[in-house]
Amino acid sequence: GAGVSQTPSNKVTEKGKYVELRCDPISGHTALYWYRQSLGQGPEFLIYFQGTGAADDSGLPNDRFFAVRPEGSVSTLKIQRTERGDSAVYLCASSPDRGNTEAFFGQGTRLTVV
């Protein structure tokens, strides 16, 4: 596709369940970012991939959060034992290099934990 694609666009899950959020970056983009955004706040950095490796995962809030990018393209953000506080919009972005040019964002996945 032409842009960054995130699926699903909305996800409602019960507290304690496991969820996976998917991001398809723009083809050829080596850098991929995950952010989390709560209402009225700016995007909060979670993790950054350069190729297949997590170059910086310092934003992951705890060990319930994990992300992979096994082939350097599609990435999956995984959240175990979800909590109500995990409810937010999860944004993915990709960039053709190490961030010295613009980042292209997907439309996000709105996660609601009930």
Partner: protein, 109 residues
């Protein structure tokens, strides 16, 4: 803190007026970027200014950067109702792109 801080938090103006938003930061940067967000979903890149640049223009947008004061401003001239959105500055230094909390702009027709 590595994130930028936008000022004001909210701004309401009449259509046709100019809107100015500021971003202050504390760390060294390679570049500073401005993004726009409608309805709390995907962000759209507006303009990137590198640390060795002082001013850039794109259409009705003008961005300045003062690295000595660690601040940037975004000026939208001749605003339109369609400019209503949240605007964020994002810093690129030795860390991944870090966003501020944004300025919510309302342009009243």
């Amino acid at each position: 803190s590595q994130q930028g801080e936008e000022d004001p938090q909210a701004l309401s103006i009449q259509e046709g007026e100019n809107a100015t938003m500021n971003c202050s930061y504390k760390t060294s940067i390679n570049n500073l970027q401005w993004y726009r967000q409608n309805s709390g979903r995907g962000l759209v890149h507006l303009i990137l200014i590198r640390s060795n640049e002082r001013e850039k223009h794109s259409g009705r947008l003008r961005v300045t950067l003062d690295t000595s004061k660690k601040s940037s401003s975004l000026l939208i001239t001749a605003s339109r109702a369609a400019d209503t959105a949240s605007y964020f500055c994002a810093l690129k230094g030795n860390t991944p792109l870090v966003f501020g909390k944004g300025t919510r702009l309302s342009v009243i027709a």
